[in-house]
Symmetry: C2
Subunit: 217 residues, 2 copies
């Protein structure tokens, strides 16, 4: 059955790979599944047909036969659970990998989203100059803890998993802020993620949409 995902017709980041379809593309590339992409405009995202697929009017969505899913975490989990390559076979190790998916999305990403809001949505507000350091410190608190846990390991718990895919994707959002560089082991961790061939293919595919050029090679 064909897998179809949705992505921005024009990503707000212009192709830096920070839109959430990149996470789903990456997962699909890791497990070697082909997929089709339907591009959605900002306007269409908030209209009936897309809202029926995604109640919060966002991308990505995932369609496969009569199954329709939204929410990146859920889509990546769905792919990881059904295809080898993103979750360990051992039941306990699998549960721990899933734990890191949730930690990325519910413990680390909210602090990072707050920083994005402070910079972009409230960037022109008079209080942002004062509030931004507080927001950034809340991000640092999470990064410090994550950095301590990661130590000098390559990945968060044994082999690369969907938990790492999600954590690296979340941390990538910090790149423009420079905060990630304060934690060299996290910087190296993100770089290891970006160096994976599956990530490179996913990145190239989303970039091609945003530049209008097909991916090279």
């Amino acid at each position: 059955m064909t897998i179809t995902i949705t992505a921005f017709e024009r990503s707000p980041d212009g192709g830096k790979g920070l839109a959430r379809d990149t996470r789903v593309r990456w997962a699909l590339e890791e497990v070697g599944l082909p997929y089709a992409v339907r591009l959605v405009s900002f306007r269409a995202m908030k209209e009936g047909a897309h809202l029926a697929l995604h109640p919060f009017g966002q991308i990505p969505t995932y369609e496969e036969g009569d199954l329709a899913l939204f929410e990146t975490g859920s889509i990546v989990f769905h792919i990881a659970q059904r295809h080898a390559g993103l979750l360990p076979d051992d039941a306990n190790a699998r549960a721990r990998a899933i734990t890191w998916m949730f930690a990325a999305l519910n413990t680390v990403e909210p602090a990072i989203l707050e920083l994005a809001t402070a910079r972009i949505v409230e960037g022109d507000k008079p209080w942002t100059k004062e509030s931004l350091p507080l927001v950034a410190d809340r991000v640092r608190e999470k990064l410090k803890q994550l950095s301590a846990r990661l130590g000098d390991a390559d990945w968060l718990d044994g082999a690369f998993s969907a938990g790492d895919l999600m954590m690296v994707s979340v941390l990538l959002r910090l790149k423009p802020s420079g905060i990630l560089d304060e934690y060299p082991n996290l910087s190296a961790y993100v770089a290891r993620g970006e160096a994976r061939p599956a990530y490179k293919r996913a990145f190239a595919a989303q970039l091609a949409v945003n530049t209008g050029k097909p991916p090279a090679g």
Copy 2:
């Protein structure tokens, strides 16, 4: 095997049920699993033994034999996947219920956490009076979309699931703000969650810890 979870020795909310152990207690009550609770002080949460269990120094954690998990979403999912009562049997319906778990934790809760931060952590800052309405409007945007999707259904997708458990738990955090009352179907949805016997037992158990009295009945 005994299941042991951790909870605050003294919850910051004094027993209103908003600490995240309530979500895990609720899941355990829904599927009828007994559990033990180890109480942790704020100081001990940030120290070695607890950090080994929970790298972000939070509660709850979950221990069962040689499995140790943190992150509420992961713990509730682990329970739901292994015991009847929280996820449908049909594979597609199950994937959709899991989608609502992620939607609660990664789409709805971040906006609500931001509101909590603005009210509590930054409550004394000069800009909070001006920023709070913006933060509240971002919460309303999510609630409006959620309300539209729920419509007049009892639960988000068919029978009550771990997705509803998580969404109701996330929405409960809004109660003190009054914002939830602006969406009568969401208010009623949360009330349906609170009316479940399993929720009542979970609530009573966490309240007993915080009042020092054993649960009645």
